[in-house]
């Protein structure tokens, strides 16, 4: 027969395995490829008899792979069977009839697969078309599956097959219609193969019919001897490859009539052989059940890992369960798994058979982590038993009292994640466990890696969630068609809704956030088209409040370019806008004020210049420099001079009050002695007072502390008050300037200017400091100017932290008083601040 194999090209490992097992069960040699690339390499190395080709492969479309195969020298004759789960796809490729030999729909059933493979491959290359043609064979087997499988093979080889489920039935059938040859399983209930053979030999009709015995398990020389004794033509072991059976069947027909022993059934020998066959069968069954246990453990692991991923739970308990299963499967006395940490291996879980909760039961590997690390130093699994060379492994056996041990590193892509150890009480190690333990370690590695990945993902997700939920900026996620999916609390706040859910419930679309919905829709459309959109928008809160926001929207696309979702941020910039607007207005106002100030300064200068000339020339004339004057002329000139000075003072006042109002007036407080300040002001006006025969008295309280005041501005207040006093005090009157500690407020000094003038009506008292206020009684004695002087005084005093007021008795005089803070030494001020 040809050794050429069937190539299975399938990326799904389960399907691939199923196909392989089925085909191998039918006697085919199978090679596997999980990708088109590997398939092409395998085809290049050895032309397969048949290719089973999954149409959907990770790296190439099945049709494309077929074209490549066909394009190879000799590739056009390789039969290729298309496999797919999609009927439509199969129908489509079936249209390419020249290309695919046939199609097969998933899920693939065993019989359908084998039938199709057979039909494609028949007649098998190099085999006689039908060696069994015209020959009837009675096939006796109690296992219906085995019987069916063999029946198919024999039918393939051209035999006419009659089936029987046990020896008794076989005899009946054979007596009814004598077969050319009998093929019987050895071990069957009620009547085994040896007995059947014996009965055939003893039968009058059937005695010449050859019988071939088939053992499912095992044959020894003694089995062959017994077979001969009972008159069998041959005894052979069942193999997946049916060609051997066909040959033996054909041989048995050509062979001379089998000898029949006269002595009848050799009872003792027969019993021994049957028992032996049964033992062997049981052994095989045990092996199979062990394999089942291992597979079960593997499945547990896979299920556990899957479950852990689904739940995002730590996999430690899952791995503990697996360790348990693993130990059960191999009959181990102890098992442990370790995780690699900063200081080497750390025992995560240990199971000791018969462990009654003792902290370090016998056979425990607890506490021997460093020795295990040493045993694993080479990075490869290690197996130790009592016959091993001395070393860490042997030492561990002695320490734990175990008979044998297998260690395996748990590793992933060359990095060790931990270790697995399984121990037995038996002294001799069963080498068969080694690959199993290694496979288990591989599963542990997958699980630990997954656990790490799940944990990392969970952390990332948690961090993201924290960032999203806790962000002071509004953030949202919306579907591709701009429906809100998630909204963070900050955005709910900006939008004036109680909660994120309320936003999602009441706003169907992202664009509904904005007061101008059409603009919002344009914004969304721009993000969808250009990937990113930003803009400043007005939004209307449910209560009608208007907010301004800066919004950004990004369209997130999948690998295929489709929009998966939209991510947006919303910043409330209402305050910022208001502040900017205010700053703009203030700047404008500042500029306007500066211009006004400059203008007034200029005006005052321009007014004063001709006034100065008027004053200068009037003085020149008055002083007789332009010729002698009569008294009346002189008096009139003095009036001119006085009015010029008054006008000049009014211009000053006007400018001062403007400067104070615009903040251009600067107060620079410094420590001052009040008596000096008062003395200076009095000196300035003593001449003016003397001209009206008004006396000025000064009374400064002894030991008065220094004050913190701007000398020029405080002097200005004093002069102003004195000028007023002189103005309103009749000739021969008296003005008293006094200074003492303010009895009303601690830390303040009070300065008063008292006159013996006409006084102020009670109704006018509260208003005398008002801007542009002019007393009702004005006019009789003197002009009062613009009503600026006292207003300016109040401004200057309050800017220095003081207070100004007036007490007056009409007809007797007024007392104007103001306060100034006393000087605080630096240390004292700091203490106060603290």
């Amino acid at each position: 027969m040809s050794r050429a194999s069937i190539l299975v090209v399938e990326d799904n490992p389960q399907t691939r395995k199923l196909l392989r097992v089925t085909l191998e069960g039918a006697g085919h040699a199978v090679r596997e490829a999980e990708s088109a690339q590997i398939a092409l390499e395998l085809i290049a190395s050895d032309t397969p008899r048949l290719v089973l080709l999954d149409l959907v492969l990770p790296d190439m479309d099945g049709v494309e792979l077929l074209r490549r195969v066909r394009g190879r020298p000799g590739g056009d004759t390789i039969p290729v069977l298309a496999i797919s789960g999609m009927r439509a796809r199969l129908e489509e490729v079936a249209g390419l009839h020249d290309e695919f030999t046939d199609t097969l729909l998933k899920p693939v059933t065993t019989s359908r697969l084998l039938e199709q493979v057979r039909s494609i491959l028949a007649p098998p290359a190099g085999a006689t078309p039908a060696p069994g043609r015209g020959i009837s064979v009675l096939l006796v087997d109690d296992d219906p599956l085995q019987r069916k499988l063999l029946a198919i093979h024999l039918a393939d080889a051209g035999f006419r097959v009659i089936e029987a489920g046990d020896g008794r039935q076989a005899l009946e059938q054979a007596r009814h219609a004598t077969p050319d040859v009998v093929l019987s399983d050895v071990l069957m209930p009620d009547m085994d193969g040896f007995r059947l053979c014996r009965l055939v030999r003893e039968d009058e009709v059937l005695r010449d019919t050859p019988v071939v015995l088939l053992s499912s398990a095992y044959t020894e020389a003694d089995d062959a001897k017994l077979a001969l004794k009972v008159g069998a033509s041959a005894i052979l072991v069942r193999t997946p490859e049916p060609a051997g059976i066909v040959r033996v069947l054909l041989d048995s027909l050509r062979a001379p009539r089998p000898m029949v022993g006269r002595e009848g059934m050799p009872t003792a020998e027969y019993a021994a052989r049957v028992r032996r066959q049964l033992d062997r069968h049981l052994e095989r069954n045990a092996e199979l059940s062990q394999r089942v246990a291992l597979l079960e453990a593997e499945i547990t692991m896979l299920a556990g890992t899957t479950e852990a991923i689904a739940r995002g739970a730590p996999t430690e308990h899952v791995l503990g369960e697996l360790l348990h299963r693993c130990m059960d499967a191999v009959g181990a006395a102890s098992g442990a798994w370790y995780a690699d940490g900063a200081d080497g291996l750390r025992l995560v879980d240990e199971i000791v058979a018969g462990d009654d909760g003792h902290p370090a039961p016998p056979r425990s590997l607890r506490g021997h982590e460093s020795a295990i690390g040493e045993a694993l130093a080479a990075g490869a699994p290690g197996a130790f038993d009592r016959s091993s060379d001395p070393g860490p492994g042997r030492r561990l056996l002695e320490l734990t009292g175990l008979g044998s041990l297998i260690f395996s590193p748990i590793q992933m892509r060359g990095e060790r994640l931990g270790a697995l150890s399984i121990g037995w009480t038996g002294d001799r190690l069963d080498g068969a466990w080694m690959p199993f333990i290694e496979a288990m370690a591989g599963q542990f590695a997958q699980a630990m890696e997954l656990s790490r990945a799940v944990l990392a993902l969970a952390t990332t997700e948690r961090n993201y969630r924290l960032a999203f939920e806790g962000s002071p900026a509004g953030a949202f996620i919306a579907s591709a068609d701009a429906a809100f999916v998630a909204v963070n609390p900050a955005l709910a706040g900006i939008l004036g809704h109680g909660s994120a859910d309320a936003v999602i419930a009441s706003l169907p679309c992202v664009c509904d956030m904005f007061a101008d919905r059409a603009r919002g829709a344009g914004f969304v459309a721009r993000a969808r088209e250009e990937g990113l959109a930003t803009g400043e928008f007005e939004l209307l809160r449910p209560g009608g409040e208007v907010r301004w926001v800066l919004a950004g929207l990004r369209a997130m696309r999948g690998p295929d370019g489709r929009i998966l979702h939209l991510e947006g941020t919303v910043l409330d910039v209402t305050e910022r806008r208001q502040a900017a607007e205010l700053a703009r207005r203030e700047a404008l106002q500042g500029e306007q004020l500066r211009i006004r100030d400059q203008f007034l300064s200029q005006v005052s200068h321009e007014l004063r210049t001709p006034l100065a000339a008027i004053h200068l020339y009037a003085g020149i004339v008055n002083d007789g420099l332009a010729g002698p004057l009569v008294d009346e002329q002189r008096q009139h000139l003095e009036t001119v001079l006085r009015n010029a000075v008054e006008l000049s003072a009014m211009i000053d006042d006007l400018l001062e009050v403007t400067r104070a109002g615009t903040g251009a007036l600067v107060i620079r407080p410094e420590p001052l002695q009040l008596d000096e300040l008062v003395g200076h002001a009095v000196r300035t006006l003593r001449a003016a007072a003397a001209a009206r025969r008004i006396a000025i008295a000064v009374r400064i309280a002894p030991g008065l502390p220094d004050v913190d005041a701007d000398a020029a501005r405080t002097g200005q207040v004093l002069v102003n008050l004195l000028e007023n006093a002189i103005k309103f005090t009749p000739s021969g009157g008296e003005i008293t300037v006094s200074a003492d500690a303010d009895p009303g407020t601690a830390g303040m000094v009070r300065v008063s200017v008292a006159d013996t003038g006409c006084g102020i009506d009670a109704g006018e008292v509260p208003r005398v400091f008002d801007y542009l206020y002019q007393g009702a009684s004005a006019g009789s004695l003197s002009r009062k100017g613009f009503g600026i002087g006292l207003h300016l005084c109040r401004d200057l005093v309050s800017r220095q932290g003081g207070n100004i007021w007036v007490e007056s008795v009409p007809g007797r005089g007024s007392v104007f008083s103001f306060t100034i803070p006393t000087h605080q030494p630096a240390a004292g001020r700091e203490r106060e601040a603290a």
Binding site: T609, L616, A644
Partner: protein
């Protein structure tokens, strides 16, 4: 108080012609020799030419203000010691501070009080 003609010379720097003439009249009546300049540039050349004993300078001048005149004078060695009085129609307190900083020995606001001015002049140059 000297009633006799003196050799003391005063330079008046003032752009307003009326003020310039009026001040000259006033000072001549006190027997000082008065020269005048209407702007900053001619003020400096007049000072170099006349070597006055006192200079009265207005702050608001065309072609550089009174402060500039003071700076020029103090930079010219033979003129640096000449006493200067500042006259101004402006009221900003900064002007007074600046004039003091530049070494002015008198500061008069317009309208000028004649008595104060004359006593100051006599105090400085006799």
């Amino acid at each position: 108080m000297s009633g006799l003609p003196t050799a003391k010379r005063i330079l008046v720097v003032e752009d307003d012609q009326d003020m310039r003439n009026g001040l000259r009249l006033r000072l001549q009546s006190e027997h000082y020799t008065v020269s005048v300049a209407p702007d900053a540039v001619s003020a400096v050349s007049a000072a170099q030419r006349e070597r006055p004993d006192l200079i009265l300078v207005d702050i608001g001048l065309p072609g550089g203000d009174g402060f500039l005149v003071m700076q020029r004078l103090s930079a010219l060695q033979p003129l640096a010691g000449i006493p200067v009085f500042v006259i101004t129609a402006r009221s900003e307190p900064e002007n007074l501070e600046r004039a003091r900083a530049l070494g002015a020995q008198g500061f008069f606001r317009k309208p000028i009080n004649n008595r104060e001015l004359m006593s100051a002049v006599r105090r400085v140059i006799g």
